[in-house]
């Protein structure tokens, strides 16, 4: 990375509060061009909130966010970003075909009241092909399986030819076979030189692609580094906490406390 090539994501001392309650605190995160970063952590650790903060869906209560070197408030080149939300948004009250949903991802590069150009159509076709849904392109999204709907959302983000991808739990609720299909699509992104920030509960087949793991705990970054140093060899991909931790403050009877403090002496 040279000085003329600012990092795609740069967050300094970021904090997010939801309803007055702090959810993220003291987050420093810089993602460099071409990096594949996995945000890991337990439920409620703030990993999804961090992605939502990075995309502007959750306002920062503190800190400074820059995307491609531009302060977020002045950021307008949205076509450089591809966002893949959790799968819930794929179906709506009116039928929509796979192609139509993917086409909406091209809006970042289209002007108002202009029809699709040849380049737009090509990008949409390529995006559908990359996720392997060419034969389902005219089918209604709601008739697809969960894993296929997830691939539609990835294709939608792809259609705008972005440089930076944010994916919120793309593998949640997807069986191992389809996780592998998703991983292949992500590998193709990585091979193109895209920067990827991905939230995951379990990595599964994505693991070999990950350059860097950021483990969240209690709204802070607990670990930031290579995956191999962090994940234990049993292949258990949950954030491996060495000590037992819960979000509920530990409540114990006074006698119990007395007992446990005496135990070492016994």
């Amino acid at each position: 990375m040279s000085l003329t090539d600012p990092p795609p994501v740069e967050l300094r001392d970021g904090a997010v509060a939801i309803g007055g309650r702090p959810v993220l605190r003291g987050i420093d995160l810089t993602v460099t061009t071409g990096e594949f970063v996995a945000l890991l952590g337990a439920n409620g650790s703030g990993k999804s909130t961090l992605v939502r903060a990075l995309t502007g869906l959750r306002p920062l209560t503190r800190g400074e966010l820059r995307l491609f070197g531009t302060p977020f408030d002045e950021f307008r080149t949205w076509h450089r970003i591809g966002f893949v939300p959790q799968r819930t948004g794929a179906a709506s009250g009116v039928p929509a075909s796979v192609r139509e949903v993917v086409t909406s991802g091209r809006l970042t590069r289209r002007r108002l009241l202009r029809p699709l150009r040849a380049a737009d159509r090509l990008a949409i076709d390529e995006a559908i092909e990359l996720v392997g849904l060419t034969d389902r392109a005219t089918d209604g999204v709601s008739t697809l399986s969960g894993g296929q709907q997830q691939r539609v959302l990835i294709a939608r983000a792809l259609a705008g030819d972005p440089e930076l991808f944010f994916l919120d739990e793309p593998t949640a609720g997807v069986d191992l076979h389809h996780q592998q299909v998703l991983a292949d699509a992500l590998a193709a992104l990585k091979a193109r030189g895209s920067t990827v920030v991905l939230v995951a509960h379990e990595l599964g087949p994505i693991e070999p692609l990950v350059d860097r793991a950021v483990v969240m705990r209690d709204g802070r970054i607990d670990y930031d580094g290579r995956l191999a140093d962090h994940v234990d060899p049993t292949g258990h991909h949950h954030a491996a906490h060495r000590r037992v931790h819960d979000h509920v403050p530990h409540v114990a009877a006074p006698l119990e406390h007395l007992h446990s403090s005496r135990e070492p002496r016994a």
Partner: protein, 337 residues
């Protein structure tokens, strides 16, 4: 009076024009409302618009314009309440609905107007429409159709997935308010045709009908507009001919015709969905034993030593190489090995 004479009457021509434009515009907005699961929003705006009509009757201004104004304000209020209120948004909407209806009836009474005057707006009176009103209806309807079709990519994206739309740089709140304003305008446009209390039917029923058969958004939108136009023009004509025998009001006839169209397409939609479910391939067979369901047409012959496909010994049986994969005869079909 013969049918030709009936259609040559100026009031009938005005009514047909108003019905055509209303029938095209109302389902166009309705599609976006249904997509956002706000099918009853048109109904709510209609209730609020009753107050607008009453204010027009009280002050002597044109009830059409006061209705447009109050309906737009009400629609924006509904949208903002919906956006802010997460859990009890529908309760807040209900408050606005009934406030609008009660306010309208009360103001009409204060103004000394009879209930019959208000009823024209509640249940429609398309045959009494003036030529000035026809022009206003056509202009407003054309505006609604133009925006709904012209900005379809943006409106579709925002309604489909607001969060994605925001990260794509679209001004989600602006588009949401735009749909609310368009809904308010088409409610007041349809007010003269089917009436404020039935307006939501013209916005929602054609959409419900067209989505029985459509697989894409574009088809749903186009078909809903065609069905809406057919229902409102057809309903008006039926009511006109029926009026030789009985006192048939056009508004309810239009709505009932739209519902009849839904009743006809619904079983077809059920059958189509059932068929597509039955045709969906199963891919959960055990590995190494997939029943042949891939797409290379039906077998025109039985695989055998003389069929021309290369034979491969596979454990205790023979597979035949077929289009790059191996078929093993198994009863009436072939397994993939």
């Amino acid at each position: 009076m013969s049918p030709a004479e009936l259609f040559s009457l100026p009031f009938m021509q005005r009514a047909l024009l108003a019905a055509l434009f209303t029938g095209l515009a109302a389902p166009a907005v309705g599609t976006y409302l249904v997509q956002r699961r706000l099918a009853l929003m048109g109904d709510g705006i209609g209730h609020v618009a009753v107050t607008g009509v009453a204010i027009g009757l009280l002050t002597g201004w044109s009830p059409t314009w006061t209705a447009v104004l109050v309906a737009v304000v009400g629609a924006i209020a509904i949208e903002l309440i919906r956006e802010r209120g997460h859990t009890n948004g529908d309760v807040a909407l209900a408050l606005l609905f009934y406030g609008g209806l009660a306010g309208g009836v009360l103001v009409t009474g204060i103004g000394g107007q009879s209930a019959a005057r208000l009823q024209q707006y509640l249940f429609g009176s398309i045959t009494t429409i003036s030529s000035g009103d026809v022009v206003v209806t056509m202009v407003l309807a054309a505006l609604v159709i133009g925006v709904c079709v012209g900005l379809a990519p943006q409106l579709f994206a925002v309604a489909q997935d607001p969060e994605f739309a925001r990260v794509a740089g679209l001004r989600v709140r602006f588009y949401n308010l735009l749909v609310a304003v368009l809904a308010a305008v088409s409610v007041t446009v349809a007010m003269r045709t089917v009436g404020l209390l039935l307006v939501s039917a013209l916005m929602v029923v054609p959409v419900a009908t067209s989505q029985q058969l459509a697989r894409s958004f574009r088809t749903t939108l186009g078909a809903a507009m065609v069905l809406g136009a057919v229902a409102s023009v057809g309903g008006l004509v039926i009511a006109a001919f029926a009026s030789y025998e009985v006192n048939a009001a056009p508004g309810p006839t239009i709505v009932l015709l739209a519902l009849a169209m839904f009743a006809v397409t619904w079983p077809i939609g059920v059958w189509l969905r059932r068929r597509s479910r039955l045709q969906a391939p199963f891919d959960d067979d055990p590995p190494g034993h997939d029943e042949a369901d891939h797409d290379h047409g039906p077998h025109t012959h039985d695989h055998g030593p003389a069929c021309g496909h290369p034979a491969v010994q596979h454990d205790d049986h023979v597979d035949y190489v077929h289009d790059g994969h191996r078929h093993a005869p198994h009863g009436s079909h072939y397994d993939e090995h």
